[in-house]
């Protein structure tokens, strides 16, 4: 890559030094997108009007010599399951092909209030259901690191856009790994905060009790800066939590010496690529060299996580996706009767993976099956959360691989949904437990494919997670 990799601090410095105007920088990014997007397919929609209007506001602030807001002029991309007022939001689905939200998601509003520039909407698996971005109705995203590989999913477009330098940062959503796994596949840091840390208002729900909005960026510091802006209680989301938001970026430099890092044995078993194991184990040794103390852990309910996740998530999805019925917005395929219209609209509007999950979820909630599936899954979910709670009695953070393999080839797993589901095996646990987690790059395979290391922290332990990730990132950078 030839273009200088912009970061939040470098954008700020350039604007303050008047080396570039916000409008010029924004144009530069749109030009970059125009060049690269045809092959990457990371963006589904661009919002130049909105972006330039915001850039002009920033330039006016600079002209007046006023204090710049924290994300002034930072070009960002937003996953297409997050509502943007006046900008088409499809969720990667045919059923919302023409849907333009009349309101902004809280996270988007907060980014813009902090001065960020929303460039456009990024491709994703349909309704965030997938682990490779191949379930988008608008075609797969290609991994900028290796174009024949998937970028991961479901927030593949956001990950690819940031990794390719088409945005300084991006918002993704994580339900079972949809931020962390693409972050790992594309070789950039990617984080989900504690459930309730970031408002879900405006996030088009896949699984309400699991969905979280979180940032992608090229540095841990930038991830921390974005998270600090979007986090915090929102009166529009009852499940957002009124816990104060620390200045994450300011806390990054705290020493990690003496931190106890938990290594759960269940995450280093069968099914993991050898190279991933080697890289993650090397990462753990690097942390050890920084003074962290590894502690071997048992998290006995880990094996049930995938099954639990696919019951809870699909059950909620079957209800959340009921509103796409052709009555008020989005696709409507006319039918002879109301029922006929419903069937045709949903039949043609949804892709096969979405239909599969609606079927699974509907079944799990059906009378006579509810206790055996949904209720049982909720109980196991509690046990998995307890595994985490108990682990955090012994350790400060938990270290695992993000994904059992590096980015796989497009088409490799599309015929085998179960194989695809297993790509989330190390990420869904944290999703079910509601704890914060980050994926940070921890080296590359001989083919040059990035490997991710995942850090889980206790509830609202984002600062700790970020500190560790930052120390790791800095140590790796200096050891290269």
């Amino acid at each position: 890559m030839t273009a200088p990799a912009w970061t939040i601090p470098s954008v700020r410095a350039a604007l303050e030094a008047k080396k570039v105007s916000s409008r010029e920088l924004t144009s530069e990014f749109f030009a970059c997108i125009e060049r690269r997007n045809p092959e990457l397919n990371a963006f589904l929609a661009l919002s130049p009007d909105r972006a330039f209007a915001q850039a002009d506001r920033i330039d006016a602030i600079i002209a007046r010599g006023e204090q710049l807001p924290p994300l002034a002029g930072v070009p960002v991309a937003v996953k297409d399951v997050i509502s943007t007022c006046g900008v088409r939001t499809t969720c990667g689905s045919r059923i919302l092909e023409n849907y333009v939200p009349p309101y902004d998601a809280t996270a988007v509003g907060r980014l813009e209030s902090a001065g960020a520039i929303v460039l456009g909407k990024t491709n994703c698996d349909e309704f965030a259901m997938g682990s490779s971005n191949e379930n988008s109705a608008y075609g797969p995203v290609r991994n900028p690191v290796a174009l024949d590989r998937v970028p991961g999913g479901s927030s593949g477009g956001s990950a690819a856009a940031v990794a390719a330098g088409l945005a300084v940062a991006a918002l993704g959503t994580d339900t079972g790994g949809s931020i962390r796994q693409p972050g790992a596949f594309c070789g950039i840091p990617a984080m989900m905060g504690t459930y309730g840390r970031v408002s879900r208002y405006g996030l088009i729900a896949f699984a309400s009790s699991l969905d979280r909005i979180g940032p992608f960026a090229t540095t841990v510091r930038d991830v921390a800066s974005i998270l600090a802006v979007i986090a915090g209680r929102d009166s529009s989301d009852s499940t957002s939590v009124p816990v104060p938001v620390p200045d994450y970026a300011a806390d990054l430099d705290r020493p990690v010496r003496g931190l106890r890092i938990g290594i759960p044995r269940e995450y280093f078993g069968e099914g993991m690529d050898l190279i991933v194991r080697q890289k993650v184990e090397a990462g753990i040794r690097l942390l050890e060299s920084l003074g962290c103390v590894p502690v071997e852990l048992r998290m006995p309910h880990t094996d049930f996580a995938i099954a639990t996740y696919y019951i809870v998530a699909t059950a909620e999805a079957s209800s959340n996706l009921a509103r796409f019925d052709g009555v008020r917005y989005g696709l409507r395929v006319p039918g002879a009767t109301l029922l006929d219209m419903y069937k045709k609209t949903r039949g043609r509007g949804f892709g096969s993976e979405v239909k599969r999950r609606i079927m699974l979820g509907t079944y799990a909630l059906s009378s006579g099956y509810y206790d055996a599936y949904y209720l049982k899954a909720q109980k196991v979910r509690t046990l998995i959360a307890r595994d985490f709670a108990e682990a955090f009695q012994q350790v400060d953070v938990i270290i695992t691989p993000t994904s059992p393999s590096p980015a796989f080839r497009l088409g490799d797993k599309t015929d085998d949904p179960l194989q695809m589901y297993l790509a989330d095996i190390y990420t869904v646990t944290g999703s079910l437990a509601g704890v914060p987690g980050i994926s940070v790059p921890c080296g590359k395979t001989p083919d040059g494919l990035p490997v991710g290391l995942q850090v889980f922290g206790p509830h609202f332990g984002e600062s700790l997670v970020l500190q560790l990730a930052y120390a790791f990132e800095q140590a790796r950078g200096s050891s290269v």
């Binding site: 997050i82 509502s83 939001t89 969720c91 919302l96 849907y99 939200p101 009349p102 309101y103 998601a105 879900r200 208002y201 405006g202 996030l203 088009i204 729900a205 699984a207 309400s208 009790s209 009166s235 529009s236 989301d237 009852s238 499940t239 059950a315 909620e316 079957s318 209800s319 996706l321 009921a322 509103r323 796409f324 019925d325 009555v327 008020r328 917005y329 109301l338 029922l339 419903y342 509907t362 909630l365 059906s366 009378s367 509810y370 949904y374």
Partner: protein
């Protein structure tokens, strides 16, 4: 069907009542609940169920629901939970209703209904909160033969559903239950209970069994009982229908039936319309509802006086008849009016009489509610005090009342302007003397012991004074002159 056959069966009825809570805004968003606004005026991303929008519970609605539950002597649970009830229909923009299922707000209450001069206690199974659906409009548009329209103003309006135990044994009891329930909830300010505007809706679970049997028969759910009249008709019809089925050796189907006002009968709904598996599950977008003892105590402390308590107090404090107390406490507004008049100095007994006769009649003629009365309680009190003092007669008082109702002027002003103040004792004395002098025959009859003729003298004096003389004074004066 012969009364003999009907008498062999006992109906078993439970009612499910939906009431709109009296809040300014909807259950999960800040949109207005105002009735009658232009279609789809009061909508937002939340109540339209737009993708990504999330519900936030209206605290005011929760407080009202708790008040309703406490007024019905129900146990309000420390922890309850909203749940999603999933089904597809165009009036349901989210594809699910946010209701309560396994963990309702309150359970195990009761309501006492008047029955044959005594009372009967009807159990209340549960009370829970939910959001209302939109309104489908199938008529009144140029293209109504092809298209339907949807008005989402009502969508998201807060409701409570109150489910009774199957303790009701006749359509009359059902009527009494609904009337009493309405009265209690109106009193507590929980709901307007306006059936025309759809703020009170009722479904019934009906079965019949042979008298003496313990087991319940198979029940049918009858929907659309949205007026007190329909309720009784529909229940009578449905009871007879089920008895008819059993008498002809048939089996009552467990089904949902719709009361057809036009046909005057219940009709089965097409199975597809109700054969739902609602797939209830806890609403993940809302936190569980916590109701502390402190909140319950606070709501209870602010609970308005309930009808039974008010009736008893009126009897005790104002010495009016039980009948009057019953009528005057029919609605809280009427009771408040009565009490305000008494507090402003009206004699309780005459206030009770005047309100029930003059005021209610004229309000009824004018199509007005008590709250819209042109005569304020204090103004009525002034009039009744003038009458009590003997300044004007009751008969004149009625004329003054009419004028007050018409103009809104105070009684004193009308009495002064129309010079209908009662005439002086001297004038009465003169009139009485004149009548006695002009009717020697009748004087003789009276003196001979014919007391009945006394009325004649009174009548004559009243006529001479155009009804403005104080009857007591006239009586006294005549008795003196004739003795």
């Amino acid at each position: 069907m012969s009364p003999g056959i009907l008498a062999r069966y006992e109906p078993v009825i439970g009612l499910e009542v939906h009431l709109q809570l009296r809040t300014g805004t909807k259950l999960f968003c800040a949109c207005s609940t105002r009735f009658g606004d232009p279609p789809n005026k009061n909508t937002c991303p939340v109540c339209l169920g737009l993708p990504g929008a999330l519900p936030v519970l209206n605290r005011g609605a929760l407080d009202l629901a708790i008040r309703a539950a406490l007024a019905l002597h129900a146990t309000v649970h420390e922890r309850s939970r909203f749940a999603r009830k999933n089904y597809f229909y165009p009036d349901l923009p989210k594809g699910y209703q946010i209701s309560m299922y396994e963990m309702p707000l309150a359970t195990a209450g009761w309501l006492e209904i008047p029955l044959d001069g005594a009372t009967k206690r009807i159990g209340i199974t549960r009370l829970h909160m939910e959001d209302d659906a939109a309104k489908n409009l199938h008529e009144g548009f140029p293209d109504s033969d092809r298209n339907s329209y949807i008005d989402y103003n009502r969508c998201g309006v807060p409701l409570v559903e109150i489910v009774s135990e199957p303790d009701i044994r006749s359509p009359e009891e059902a009527y009494a239950y609904l009337t009493t329930l309405k009265q209690v909830l109106e009193y507590t300010g929980v709901s307007d209970c306006n059936m025309e505007e759809g703020s009170l809706r009722c479904d019934a679970n009906v079965s019949v069994r042979r008298r003496g049997e313990d087991k319940f028969g198979t029940k049918a759910e009858v929907k659309n009982l949205n007026s007190f009249r329909y309720l009784q008709h529909a229940l009578e019809y449905e009871i007879e229908r089920q008895i008819g089925v059993l008498e002809s050796s048939g089996r009552v189907e467990q089904e949902t039936r719709l009361w057809s006002v036009a046909a005057g009968r219940t009709e089965p709904m097409r199975s597809k319309e109700f054969a739902h598996d609602y797939r209830y599950f806890p609403e993940p977008d809302l936190l569980p509802v916590h109701v502390s003892e402190a909140l319950k105590a606070e709501i209870l402390s602010k609970m308005p006086e309930l009808p039974d308590a008010k009736r008893a107090r009126f009897l005790r404090e104002f010495q009016i008849t039980p009948y009057d107390a019953g009528v005057l406490t029919t609605t809280r507004a009427l009771a408040d009016y009565f009490e305000a008049a008494v507090n402003a100095g009206a004699p309780p007994k005459s206030a009770a009489n005047w309100i029930q006769t003059e005021l209610l009649r004229r309000l009824n003629d004018a199509g007005k509610e008590i709250a819209e009365s042109p005569i304020a309680p204090a103004a009525l009190a002034e009039l009744l005090r003038i009458i009590e003092r003997g300044q004007i007669t009751g008969a004149s008082g009625k004329k003054v009342f009419a004028k007050m109702f018409e103009t809104g002027d105070p009684a004193s002003k009308i009495v002064a302007a129309e010079s209908i103040g009662q005439i002086s004792e001297a004038e009465i004395e003169r009139a009485c003397r004149e009548v006695v002098e002009k009717n020697p025959d009748n004087v003789a009859k009276y003196k001979a012991g014919n007391d009945g003729v006394f009325k004649f003298f009174v009548g004559q004096v009243m006529r001479a004074t155009r009804g403005q003389a104080s009857p007591q004074l006239v009586n006294g004066t005549l008795k003196r002159l004739l003795s």
